[in-house]
Amino acid sequence: MQASAETLAFLRDVRVFEAFSDPDLLALTDRLRERDLRRHQILFREGDRGDEMFIVRRGTILISKSVTGKVEQVLVRVEPFDFFGEMSLFDGSPRSATAQAETEVELLVLGRDSLQAMTETAPRAAAAFFHAMVLVFMERLRRSTLQVAEATRWGLEATGLDVETR
């Protein structure tokens, strides 16, 4: 991918690349691919194989998990400067949720090979990337905990179950 000033400026605002030096960011840009999605296009489905993570440059991606039949629960909306799909990037496990474009979307794609190359050629940048990634994971874990609590509250409210005084 061509390293334009606009792309570099964009990547500086992406959390996992914030600590990158200019040369590292330039090298990274060479390893990224661009991908466009039309509105409602499915990027990947829950259970698909994958080894890439995606950074949203423009538009919104819906991440949803199958609940029953044709019903899925929307877990999160991924907005510009945020990223998703990193779990399969690290461990090659099947996709844990479905990603679909809510609007027209522009993505930047980072593959496992590129990540490996970055680890070997720019270890300082890779360390900064992994450190930022751990912080993001912690944040997402906290959000998941909140979602579990919210789901429990939904169930209690929907059944009118009085557990305080039982």
């Binding site: 409602h40 296009q41 499915i42 819906l62 949803s64 609940v67 039949g69 044709k70 019903v71 899925e72 629960q73 929307v74 679909q100 919210e150 789901a151 509250r153 939904w154 169930g155 209690l156 409210e157 929907a158 059944t159 009118g160 179950l161 009085d162 005084t165 039982r166």
Partner: protein
């Protein structure tokens, strides 16, 4: 401390490969659809508590398993009687408004809490059929049927944002339905239609000969076309709701209990209007069938004898007027418009439920014969409904027999 907003899920419902719809489902939606069920009758006792001081009587409800007692007001006793596992909280609230003419927003949640604490309540699947299927899920055929019903139940095409549509429909001509001229035209059509029907029924066999050798197929086609008039019926309910300046909450199509295809309109807001408004809303929807049936009979009588047009129009007329009868006749075990008017006027919102429970008690030997006004009403309802359903089935069998022989 301020209470948090009701919890919500955002759900993505797939229509096909990529197309989807996003729906916010608040916990309150699940709450209103839940169907609380009191424990089995042998697990509780209830008795009236008479007091010389208190104006209204109270009730003592005892859980015979845990020996816990609850004091219930007359209103709470009424709600307790509704909690049969088949009635949703929304329906219970509606029955409460019909019975007491007002609504206390705290009474149901507070009673539910009390009953749960006393272990007097359980929650049940949506319908008795589904409960039976759930109990016998081990059998392959039952599991398959349950899957089919679940699939059909999921087919629900509806919109909650229909108020502007119905307002526009009312503004651009719908209001005419609620004018004296419309009432006169309706009455005139009813008289002409009845006269035409009398002429036609002198020889029903000749009339249905117009279908040629495919009478049964012809009647089934007419039944399918009739389905469209059910949508019109619901539209008029919605217009009546607008006429009385109330809100139409929803319009849609679904499979009731998983196998009865039906259009529906949510006009429950009309309960906040006068009794006259409720009656007019119920009656006008059904009158769609009176008008369509009358027009069909008039067309039939004007058509060449023995022609397809005559047979088709006559069969349509029969089905439309049958629908009118079923919609307005309260005694058929189905809670249609006529039933709602009847119970509203008598002030007995739980007539069907109480009547069936009473008759069941008598048949199984669990209940006793009483001579009160309510008991007579219950027996009258069950007897009339049974006879009416039998007559309805016999009439349809006769029509099909006449057409095919």
């Amino acid at each position: 401390m301020q209470r948090p907003a009701p919890a919500k899920f955002e759900l993505l419902v797939r229509r096909d490969e990529e197309d989807f719809e996003l729906r916010q489902v608040a916990s309150v939606t699940g709450y209103l659809s839940s169907r609380p069920r009191r424990v089995e009758s042998e697990s509780y006792e209830i008795s009236e508590l008479r007091s010389r001081l208190a104006v209204a009587s109270g009730f003592i409800l005892k859980n015979t398993t845990t020996d816990r007692f609850l004091l219930l007001s007359a209103q709470e006793r009424f709600l307790w009687d509704q909690m049969d596992g088949a009635t949703s909280l929304q329906e219970i609230a509606t029955a409460y408004v019909l019975k007491f003419g007002e609504f206390d927003f705290e009474i149901i949640p507070s009673l539910l809490r009390k009953l749960q604490r006393a272990q007097l309540l359980t929650f049940e699947p949506r319908s008795r059929l589904r409960a039976v299927l759930a109990r016998n899920r081990g059998r392959v055929i039952v599991k398959a049927l349950e899957l089919v019903l679940t699939g059909l139940e999921r087919i629900r095409i509806s919109s909650h944002n229909v108020q502007p549509f119905f307002q526009a429909l009312y503004r651009y001509g719908g209001f005419l339905v609620f004018t004296p001229i419309a009432a006169i035209v309706c009455a005139a059509l009813a008289v002409l239609g009845a006269a035409a029907a009398l002429v036609l029924f002198r020889d029903v066999h000749d009339m249905l000969e117009g279908f040629g050798g495919h009478a049964l197929r012809g009647i089934l086609t007419v039944k399918l076309l009739f389905f469209a008039s059910v949508a019109l019926h619901q539209f008029v309910h919605g217009l009546a709701c607008i006429h009385y300046r109330r809100r139409v909450r929803e319009f849609g199509f679904t499979f009731l209990h998983g196998f009865v295809p039906t259009f529906y309109v949510d006009v429950t807001d009309i309960f906040m209007a006068s009794r006259r408004a409720r009656v007019v809303t119920a009656v006008t929807g059904a009158l769609v069938h009176l008008v369509l049936g009358a027009v069909a009979f008039i067309v039939a009588v004007k058509s060449p004898p023995g022609s397809f047009t005559q047979a088709f129009a006559a069969a349509s007329g029969i089905i439309q007027w049958q629908a009118l009868l079923v919609a307005l006749y309260p005694f058929c075990f189905i809670e249609m418009d006529g039933y709602h008017i009847f119970v509203d006027v008598l002030g007995v919102p739980t007539l069907k439920h109480d009547a069936i429970a009473y008759a069941k008690g008598l048949l199984t030997g669990a209940g006793r014969v009483e001579q009160g006004r309510e008991e007579l009403l219950w027996i009258g309802y069950v007897v009339l409904s049974t006879l009416s359903v039998a007559a309805f089935i016999a009439f349809n069998v006769w029509i099909i027999f006449s057409a095919t022989h």
